[in-house]
């Protein structure tokens, strides 16, 4: 081995050691930052602010399964766009025929009540609907309107309970208690992925403190750089009914037309 090659070899080894050291330091910093210093509130804020695209299109299959295993299937298309303080969502049911053509438009405002419109083909017109009754079931699924919306961290008091694992993911387990009766639940306990800040599992407790529902991600994929739950389940622990939602198609940041989120589109589509 000549000197040149020796220097070169040592140089490579040194660089490798340096890289490993740097990576280790970064990890250690991460563990220190996210593992020990992060509060429940900060974890939920990270989860809330996790980048999920400026706009998105989903085609989803929804299965309603009763405790006897009887299934009902629904297909829906969802368009959503984040305008900063305003999130707009358009949902259109495309199957089965009895709800085909039913469309729903929601403007999720930050500091005031949401604005929601529904188009029912049988009614022949767009109807402004109440957005404050979040405890009602969303089209007879196990999701309530409250479950369908992103809950802002400031609406709850959060406590980091422990660290645990869910499937193959290391998680923070955070208890969230609603402030000022802002929810139908007395508390939620969420499993938040330590690496990706995706909420992987939620336990819902009623006002009497009894666990009544459970939300679980069955499949999580990274699509266009964004962690995307592609299969989720919401289970009613009281009556054994389940709602499974499977993402059949997803597109992020395609420049969804603003016109989709208009009353005109709701009526015309």
């Amino acid at each position: 081995m000549d000197n040149k090659s020796s220097y070169a070899s040592w140089g490579k080894i040194s660089m490798a050691v340096l890289k490993i050291t740097l990576i280790w330091l970064v990890c250690l910093w991460g563990v220190l930052l996210y593992g020990e210093d992060l509060t429940g509130r900060e974890i939920m804020e990270e989860a809330f602010n996790r980048y999920d695209g400026d706009d998105a299109y989903f085609k989803m299959e929804m299965k309603l399964v009763d405790k006897k295993g009887n299934e009902r299937k629904r297909l829906l298309e969802i368009y959503t766009k984040d305008y900063g303080n305003l999130i707009k969502t358009f949902i259109k049911f495309i199957f089965p025929p009895d709800i085909e053509g039913v469309s729903f438009l929601s403007w999720e405002n930050q500091d005031k009540e949401d604005t929601q419109y529904l188009y029912l083909p049988a009614l022949g017109r767009v109807r402004r609907i109440v957005s404050t009754q979040k405890n009602l079931r969303f089209v007879n699924t196990d999701f309530t309107y409250e479950d369908m919306q992103r809950r802002r961290p400031e609406q709850d008091t959060h406590t980091l309970l422990r660290e645990s694992s869910y499937k193959d993911y290391n998680c923070f387990v955070v208890e969230s208690i609603p402030k000022k009766g802002s929810s139908q639940y007395s508390k939620r306990i969420s499993w938040v992925g330590k690496d990706n800040f995706v909420i992987l599992k939620i336990e819902f407790y009623n006002k009497k403190g009894k666990k009544i529902k459970e939300y679980r991600i069955k499949e999580l994929k990274k699509i266009a750089g964004i962690w995307t739950p592609t299969e989720v389940i919401m289970e009613d622990l009281i009556d054994g009914h389940r709602t499974l939602m499977k993402t059949l198609k997803v597109k992020y940041n395609q420049g969804v037309d603003d016109a989709i989120f208009s009353i005109r589109h709701l009526q015309e589509d």
């Binding site: 309603l64 009763d66 009902r72 299937k73 629904r74 199957f95 089965p96 025929p97 009895d98 709800i99 085909e100 053509g101 009540e113 604005t115 049988a122 009614l123 022949g124 017109r125 109807r127 402004r128 609907i129 109440v130 957005s131 404050t132 009754q133 405890n135 009602l136 079931r137 089209v139 007879n140 009914h241 016109a259 005109r264 015309e268």
Partner: protein, 470 residues
């Protein structure tokens, strides 16, 4: 020349249908919908059977069968901002009784072309328009005529008769302007004689088969209701139009309307003064009124009543908003020259105001309720037949889902406070799989024989409906 205009518009409808059929043959459906034309189609087959609860007379229909096949198609062109809509319907309807009537119709329900741009759209063809905010009540929703063949057994949307019109919508930043031009007049379908649901029911048959003299029978038999030529022909002088401006202000959706329309439910106009006596007997069929009619020895034009449709100027407003957990909506319309019958059964036009307000809510137990209050005011009031100066009506809807929406129980009702007549429609629906559903329900009518619902007080029905959607 006026016939020429009518023919041209008929040809346009046929042309739209032909083009659509040619196009439909060239469409390839695909999951990604990358084809030049996107074809949305859906349809349903249903049959509804009404069973009369009590046989009150031998003229009554025991059963009514209404079966329909509906096929709705929408073609969206990717290269052009055009939508083509073709809705077809086949109907088989039967009134089963002593004199069974059967009808089989193939209808081009809707056929339109819609041209859309970001700031406007233009829709031409046979179509249906929904204006107003109230549910199942007609205050401002007057663009399309209604089919009253089965009285109100169908709800407002189902009763609408699509008509040929041009609809232009302009979309501003925070407002929208809608204009409709209806070139030819098409009245609502109202049957006067020969059916349980006809305005005068089986009156002619009752007299014909009754123990009356032949001269009386001849008089009643000779009573005819005629459509005036200018209403039955499709002529441009019957053109109607309306404009609606709508927007949102502080969470309230509002609209302002002006309409120059016909009152599309007919009023019967006498040709001679004796005709008023004819009307008096028809509306109040007592022996004394019959005697009074016969005493005048009517003949010829005395016994002919013309269907008349008044021109109305309508100015209106509506709104819709939410207040907490409640939905609120309302409509108000001022009607210039609405037709009424005087107590002597002659005809008069009065200005009226109609206002309605509705509130709805879903309870935490998932019970939905909807209440509406409607007030009618007749200006410059004088004594009118079956019309008070101030009249009030309440409608209600209650519904509740069971088994996660598979089973629904609903009750619709309407009570006309001023006339003490009412209608109740309870119904159960079971949905099997999102395609097949069955419904069992009933209609109960009560009130004095000269009132809207009371006229059908002997026509309570139960009904069974099965629907398959595809």
């Amino acid at each position: 020349m006026r016939y020429l205009a009518s023919d041209i518009f008929k040809k346009i409808s046929i042309y739209i249908l032909t083009v659509s059929l040619v196009i439909s043959g060239k469409i390839i459906e695909g999951e990604d919908r990358k084809e030049s034309i996107e074809w949305e189609k859906r349809g349903e087959v249903f049959m509804r059977v009404y069973q009369d609860t009590i046989e009150d007379s031998r003229y009554e229909t025991n059963q009514e069968i209404d079966s329909r096949f509906k096929w709705k198609n929408k073609f969206k062109f990717r290269s052009f901002p055009i939508i083509l809509g073709i809705n077809l319907e086949a109907r088989y309807q039967a009134l089963v009784g002593e004199d069974t009537e059967k009808d089989l119709d193939l209808l081009l329900k809707e056929a339109y072309l819609k041209f859309t741009k970001p700031s406007y759209s233009l829709k031409i063809g046979r179509q249906t328009v929904t204006w107003g905010k109230l549910d199942d009540i007609i205050v401002l929703d007057r663009v399309n005529p209604q089919e009253y063949k089965w009285f109100i057994l169908w709800d407002k949307q189902e009763r609408k008769i699509p008509v040929f019109m041009a609809k232009y919508d302009y979309y501003g930043n925070n407002y929208q302007i809608e204009t409709v031009i209806v070139p030819f007049f098409k009245p609502s379908y109202v049957r006067f004689f020969g059916s349980d649901w006809a305005v005068f029911g089986h009156l002619k048959e009752v007299i014909e088969d009754g123990s009356y003299s032949q001269s009386i029978k001849n008089i009643i038999k000779s009573i005819k209701v005629h459509e005036k030529d200018r209403f039955s022909e499709q002529v441009l002088e019957n053109m109607q139009g309306g404009i609606r401006v709508k927007g949102t202000f502080k969470g309230i959706d509002w609209s302002i309307y002006y309409m120059y329309f016909y009152n599309d439910t007919p009023t019967l106009r006498e040709r001679t003064s004796k005709g008023n006596t004819v009307k008096k007997f028809l509306y109040i069929p007592t022996n004394s009124n019959l005697s009074q009619l016969v005493a005048q020895n009517p003949s010829g034009d005395d016994l002919i009543l013309d269907r008349e449709y008044s021109r109305l100027h309508i100015i209106g407003v509506d709104f819709e908003t939410v207040a907490g957990n409640y939905g609120l909506r309302g409509e108000l319309g001022f009607f210039y020259n609405k037709p009424f019958l005087r107590e002597n059964f002659s005809y008069i036009e009065k200005n009226t105001l109609c206002a309605g307000i509705g509130i709805d809510h879903t309870t935490s137990g998932n019970l939905y309720w909807n209440l509406q209050f409607i007030e009618d005011i007749v200006f410059s009031y004088e004594n009118l037949f079956s019309q008070e100066e101030y009249s009030h009506q309440i409608t209600s809807t209650f519904s509740k889902d069971f088994l996660r929406g598979k089973l629904t129980f609903g009750v619709d009702s309407s009570y006309r406070i001023s006339y003490h007549d009412w209608m109740v429609n309870p119904n159960f629906t079971y949905n099997f799989n999102g395609r097949l559903s069955i419904l069992v329900g009933g209609f109960i009518f009560e009130g004095a024989s000269t009132t809207l619902f009371g006229r059908y007080a002997k026509k309570d029905v139960i009904y069974f409906q099965t629907t398959y959607k595809f």
